[in-house]
Subunit: 237 residues, 6 copies
């Protein structure tokens, strides 16, 4: 099975890190290919970035010509998943919803710990429209930007502090609220005594699940194939 | 990986059918063991049956002594999953929630087609508490009892008729609302032109996903281990 | 009028205490009979206990042969009420919903103070499905187990502390969240300056109300009579 | 126990009819006194009437000097109940909420059948703020005005037709959506095979319940006593 | 364009202050006329006052004979707007909803700062029924009564303290929760670094908008014209 | 006052039509400038188009160098408004929310009539996140694509047919669900006997209102200014 993982930003190192996380989760017969958008923001933090990212990721998928069996969209809380569902013929799994789907089965209520406070609202909206917002009790920011997550000691500490706020709000399970946090789940889970779900790993497993069950996106209603028409993808295209 | 699948009723033939469906979905390294409760209802249709079934299934798990890595609870809309999460040390996936989790990723809204009308309310409640009720637009009965599903032509026809009502209500994806419908997904999906999710297969894949990611139920809050105390499981025990 | 009150656990002393509370609330022409399940948990604290209790209570009702006019189910937040509605011909009132119904008429928002934190989620779910969750602003645990409520000074103190958290969350009325707290309402109400509703008393009055108005459970849809079929109630039966 | 029942309009005959219904429901020790506002609309049908009625009913209570133990407000869907809770020292029960509270215990979903379509929205709002709107699946108008309910054959027929729409929407229990329908419950219930709840009777029983349990409105927060200040009740006062 | 602004209480000075605020917001071609009810409460604080006020304001509009193009109802959180929509032929804008409509476009979540805590619930209900409650995260009282707002230093200080609680709850925009606060928006907005919306100004602009677009209240369904019938407005009329 | 109106697609004729509608609504001192994205879809119909459109519109605003006082985004149900709020210093009003805000003040429930069924879900999501979804009872498609609206007789007929479905669902007010329908409101409103709100006109009036009240987007939390970073807008830029 061939899974394409799309980074939501143009930072190649982050794509590589995400691919490492995806491969660690993938089953034996699964290959993972990471795609970095040729344009877009270097990191997605806020709505402006998110909409720019959505178009760039869709453009990346539109112009990717190798065969694949599923798409994992690795932008936590970022826009675009419904457009990808229209565009491609295979299942599309977004790491935001994926983490939430698994979290719902591990505890009665879950919380998300993410990067900057400004992104919390987007994540809430994304969970709601995905249909899994009901059991989310808190989305909490660590105050660290996407490209500041490299210092893992600092990130862990900030994560644990934010996670305690989520736990006080009733979270029994935590979700890593950024693809750049992938790998953190073990360490912080032990410190907190709670299961911690990484969206990248979750999405890989859900994509494998859908493919192996022969399921793909419905074409009835919302996610019908895009109508043929003139579309220009950035001024240079 | 060893998955235990619990039938919610005492009908051995149904356990076997469920196990067949589960094995068809399971990955190469997964073994599936079906458990039939030693007591309970011969089929679960309504709240009385469901609560009786919940206790019987929990008793079955409590007294099962072989090692296993995950539990799949194969009673669509039946009670008990939270109790199993308290009881066992491994992930527990209920086919109701499992089907809904996958359905949410295949279309914007989904519908459930089930057996008797009397069970629709239970299913709605089960989806709500699992946190995946938001995108469900309809739970529709076929009018067929659990033990009447054997005649597959009649079942298919009744399913398609009920599914059309769900589609008119906005369903873009359908869910088989009874473990006894397992196997039907392909035929009715083709007739309806919609993806159809079988909860048994869905739950097996989700259980495999949780196990392979090293995730299990949170012990913080709701699903803490049962307190040691005197419990009697039926008058004879 | 003859009201049967079912304890949710096997502790005879608690049945007696509940019956005392029920009789204190009952009108002049009402007789109260307490039933203690022959099996089940000695106290219900969490989902495992609750499902076991539900089956045991239903079995108790199923095998009780004296005539009666209404059932009061005295397990706060415990499962089973819908099954009892299917099973018996007379009105069934659960103390959880009963307390909430009355609380809604005494203030704009109410809160529940209960035993262990692990039961709060169950209570929330029970209020929601009963249709009276909207005006509940908090369900707060005292940290005391069901069988630890005997020391009334300690219980009162723990209750008042927890109630203050509910009040800070906006509760204008409080509900005693355990049948074992019956009798506490007066003392803590005075300390807190808030009305405190005891579910046992509330349920007795609501049961009397339904009976005297000639109302009983609808047989249309959800609570139709159980279908005749083979059911076994525990291994020994 | 002395219950005061306030009609929401100035039509004396309707007060008498309501009092008859209230007395039929009242327990042996309960006396019922009907109050007809000295001003207000001759029937309440729509928001303008409802706000006028609310003030007139509050004025009626404010100036009523006999002692009483509870108030039943007999305007279905009409405004004013929260004001009465501030004003008087005893429990206040509105027939709208009362009928809904009982209906919730008789079936999983209920519906309301009322007079003119224009009042349906008000009733929905009233149920929502009372905290019992969740399980209401439909509020349906008969097309008959409040003062047109006298022809009981026509009213019954219109009621049954409207009730069928509520039943198709999932109602398992019906509520009489106008105090002027009191008495109809038996006849239409038999025709429909569903329990039918009359708000006047329901409110009387709930008022008796609250009084006998020693419960009254919370003074904390929303329903604190009115502040002393200058208030003029109509130009002539 | 002629806008009539109705004060919700009988305090003439407050009408004048509201009219000043309304005129400051009005466009060049707009004239503003303030109406003070001839009866009602001297200030509206709580449900009793609010229902009395609603009837008095409707009576004021009913008997006002000059021509006008729109009504602004200047009672924050007070009842009556739906009745006015039935009564008059022109658009009716309530300052509660008006402030919320604008606030929704200025930030993802807003909060309201009002007078006494007892009015918070009414405001929440008013926002909900107006359809704009979803993005409101907090309604917070300052502890100052309507007629205590004159000391502007004290009011500002109390407002800022309460606003900080709303901000902590997630408010990105604030709403002045009393017509008597009109004029405060600039000063407190600067101190808090947040946009502050005054309902009076907001309502004037929305009324002008509706009029200039040729839009007025729908007569279909809820806000049909009042039926002709006998109505008495206070005992003296 | 200078309002910039952004078309969501690259079809210049549609920009012109929208500008005509905007000018018809604008007050005497307001100038309207239409902007057509240099790239994006020729019409926006579905999520893929919508995300592409969002990025293109944001790019258009980012590179527009003339001064202006407010932005109107003229893509009904299209993404992007939150990004624009981050990007520019002036108020941003989206025609989707604008129409809904006004509709809420004209009737108790409103409905939207739009182009293709595939866009209905997007519109529902957009109304929900804008905080005005509660009173929307139906979003109904006409089956006509955005570029098929030119034949006004056909469009009117399709609109009226779809509007009747919305009315049956309880809509008392209608919203034109596409900027390309601007101008239709008068004709269909008369046929239907309901107020019909055009989002373009509504947004112009709301933008004027915000500007004239000195209100602009909150920078606290969600809509903080975009962080300085490397962003590329399409491959050619």
């Amino acid at each position: 099975m061939r899974i394409v993982v799309t980074n939501c930003n143009t930072t190649q190192e982050m794509t590589e890190e995400i691919v490492r996380g995806a491969r660690a989760a993938a089953g034996p017969g699964t290959t993972v290919t990471g795609l970095t958008p040729a344009w877009g923001p270097e990191s997605a933090e806020g709505w402006l970035d998110s909409y720019l990212s959505a178009a760039a990721v869709l453009d990346t998928l539109r112009t990717y010509e190798e065969p694949y069996d599923a798409v994992v969209m690795a932008g936590f809380g970022e826009h675009g998943r419904e457009g990808a569902r229209e565009l491609v013929e295979v299942p599309v799994v977004d790491i935001t919803e994926a983490a939430a789907h698994l979290a719902c089965m591990l505890g009665r209520r879950y919380g998300v710990v993410t990067t900057l406070d400004r992104t919390c609202g987007q994540i809430e909206d994304s969970l709601d429209t995905a249909g899994v917002g009901r059991n989310c009790v808190a989305v909490v920011g660590t105050g660290l930007g996407v490209l500041e997550l490299g210092d893992s000691a600092r990130t862990e500490e900030a994560f644990v502090r934010a996670a305690e706020r989520a736990r006080d709000a009733g979270a029994e399970v935590l979700v890593l609220g950024c693809a750049g946090m992938t790998g953190l789940q073990r360490a912080v889970g032990e410190k907190l005594g709670l299961p911690v779900v990484d969206g990248v790993g979750a999405a890989v497993k859900l994509a494998e699940s859908l493919v192996s069950l022969g399921l793909t996106t419905s074409r009835a209603g919302s996610y019908a194939k895009p109508l043929p028409k003139r579309r220009e993808w950035g001024e240079g295209s």
